[in-house]
């Protein structure tokens, strides 16, 4: 009788430790939010001031108005939404083509697509910049968007999902006289909402996050995205950490909200990225 009891207590201890570990993971975020509502001196106080004495809501408007964060947020949103729409459209089109059609060199094309997973922007940075410059897209929205508009992972994800849809759906529509694009638009797309959801969220997050590409392709202040703005503010205003944290909190809101509302799709998308053929 004593052994099961010991086991049960051991299990409870592990559960408590698991919960305690959350603190380690979330502490920096707690500190960020708490600091964003402190005065400039409370931030570094010792003994540590975990919560502000009076909530300094004014930090937010002060920090955001001093720099053109309205513009930066708008730019980030425009770019992230455009990239997301491009990815949803092109990746599902290509995924459908690879999943349900036979055409010459299909496997070769698909392997070629997968190969681009080995070519992250960090590696093809210089020549990608040169291509974009050749196209005259430096310092434009199109230049910010185009190199991110199709991601091989999205094609892979959509292909895997569409492949499992029954062929009879497509054949029935074809017999009904539906055009090939009509089949894609009216039959395939509505049937792969979960995969589209995962792709949309991952794409939005990755683009919102993108730092390296805007850093290189954009020099006009009017085109800078939020990450550039935040880094620039920190570089110049490095003492005003309470205000930097206020901007950081605002900057993490889109990702945080998306995660909380769509966490199932989000986690599924990440888990799917680990599923190999």
């Amino acid at each position: 009788m004593s052994k099961p009891a010991a086991l049960r207590w051991g299990g409870r201890l592990i559960t408590v430790l698991t919960i305690a570990g959350i603190g380690l993971v979330l502490l920096p975020y707690f500190w960020m939010v708490s600091s964003s509502l402190k005065t400039g001196s409370e931030v570094f106080e010792l003994p540590i001031r975990w919560l502000p004495e009076h909530l300094q809501w004014a930090n937010y408007p002060n920090a955001l108005s001093r720099w053109s964060f309205g513009t930066y947020f708008l730019n980030s949103t425009v770019v992230a939404v455009a990239v997301m729409i491009c990815n949803l459209l092109f990746c599902s089109l290509a995924g459908y083509g690879f999943a349900k059609f036979r055409f010459r060199f299909r496997e070769a094309w698909f392997i070629l697509v997968l190969c681009t997973l080995m070519l992250p922007l960090e590696i093809v940075l210089v020549p990608t910049y040169l291509v974009v410059r050749q196209l005259g897209l430096v310092d434009t929205y199109a230049g910010l968007i185009a190199p991110l508009a199709v991601d091989a992972f999205g094609i892979f994800l959509m292909r895997q999902y569409i492949r499992d849809l029954p062929d009879s759906l497509i054949e029935a529509a074809r017999l009904d006289g539906c055009s090939e694009f009509g089949i894609f638009w009216r039959i395939i797309l509505p049937n792969c909402k979960p995969a589209l959801g995962a792709l949309a969220i991952l794409s939005f997050r990755d683009t919102w996050d993108q730092f390296l590409w805007p850093l290189i392709v954009v020099s006009k202040n009017a085109l800078k995205t939020f990450p550039l703005g935040l880094a620039q503010m920190e570089g110049i205003d490095s003492a005003a950490y309470h205000e930097i944290m206020a901007v950081a909190v605002v900057g993490m809101l889109p990702a945080a909200l998306i995660f909380l509302f769509f966490q199932r799709s989000f986690v599924r998308g990440i888990a799917l990225s680990g599923v190999k053929e």
Binding site: L93, L112, F184
Partner: protein, 313 residues
């Protein structure tokens, strides 16, 4: 079904007329064309923004090019310059240290976390939510928060002062700058890889564990003989994925340490960026990109090979 399609086709003559060319071709040829047209837009994008640049990088690595004057062919000179550049050697080793410093703890900690989160316990969905929440956070926010935490007057030093450790200027001391960045990498990577491990764990049929339990296997034996073998593909995937993503790290060194102090955090992507966009030596940067690419290629090939050997099929 076919009857209905037929009657509709008769009623819609003009549509048929306009599509006579299309309809005139054999059914299968039509489908082949349609399939290719579906993948074409994505292929074009990848061709222009991935393959073309890659080929261009290879070409450029044999040229001297500063963006202003025309490129001049100089053969293997760029590779030779790299080989003799102590900064390149330094960047190479910094990248290697960072990669393994981050990845190896990630493999172990993420597996541990996934096993913990796979246990039955009260409030499990909420606990998972809390652990997975940081995955959504943007890198730049993470970089700013940690720069703040590592500040000489910041939270890390304040916490350590409670146990009597003197203040350290983490990001501008040669001995601590890289470990400080490695700690952030681990902290950020573990929840992400735990999600992938967890998906792997959940795909292991429960009966296997019950069978092992019937045979008298304890928790540790079940882990060694059931979990590990069945999780091998996931583990291999994570090993390579974590190495590649650690190899690409760039943002944190750029905004937190600017590669310093004394280049101790200047990783390979940072070196490429500096060479290309600070010194405008595009050819040399492209040559360094090729070296980096060879590593990614090598890792991927190893992964494919291991997957083929270790895979169930």
């Amino acid at each position: 079904m076919s009857l209905r399609a037929g009657s509709r086709a008769i009623g819609d003559k003009s549509r048929i007329q306009s599509r006579r060319f299309w309809k005139g071709r054999p059914f299968h040829a039509r489908l082949r064309t349609a399939g290719f047209l579906f993948v074409l837009p994505a292929l074009l994008f990848l061709l222009i923004f991935k393959f073309l640049p890659m080929l261009d990088a290879l070409r450029l690595s044999f040229f001297k090019y500063d963006l202003m004057s025309a490129p001049v062919f100089i053969g293997l000179q760029n590779y030779h310059t790299l080989w003799n550049n102590p900064l390149f050697h330094q960047a190479f080793w910094v990248s290697a240290k960072y990669m393994f410093g981050v990845s190896i703890p990630e493999w172990i900690l993420a597996l541990g976390l996934a096993i913990l989160l796979n246990r039955r316990m009260p409030g499990r969905p909420l606990i998972r939510l809390a652990y997975f929440f940081p995955i959504a956070m943007s890198q730049i926010v993470v970089a700013m928060v940690w720069k703040f935490l590592y500040n000489p007057l910041g939270l890390v030093n304040n916490l350590l002062s409670y146990i009597g450790i003197d203040r350290v200027n983490w990001l501008s001391t040669e001995a601590t700058a890289l470990p400080a960045l490695i700690a952030i990498g681990i902290w950020r990577g573990v929840p992400l890889f735990a999600v992938i491990y967890l998906a792997g764990l959940q795909s292991i049929p429960r009966e296997y564990y019950e069978a092992a339990r019937m045979d008298g296997a304890g928790p540790w034996q079940r882990f060694i003989h059931v979990t590990l073998p069945l999780l091998t593909p996931t583990i291999l995937f994570i090993v390579v994925l974590s190495l590649i993503s650690a190899m690409k790290v760039f943002l944190n060194p750029l905004v937190m340490t600017e590669g310093g102090p004394n280049g101790t955090t200047r990783v390979l992507p940072y070196f490429i960026y500096d060479t290309g966009f600070a010194y405008f030596r595009m050819g040399e940067a492209a040559a360094a990109s090729m070296v980096l690419f060879c590593f990614v290629l090598g890792l991927t090939l190893i992964q494919l090979r291991l997957l083929r050997q270790g895979g169930p099929s």
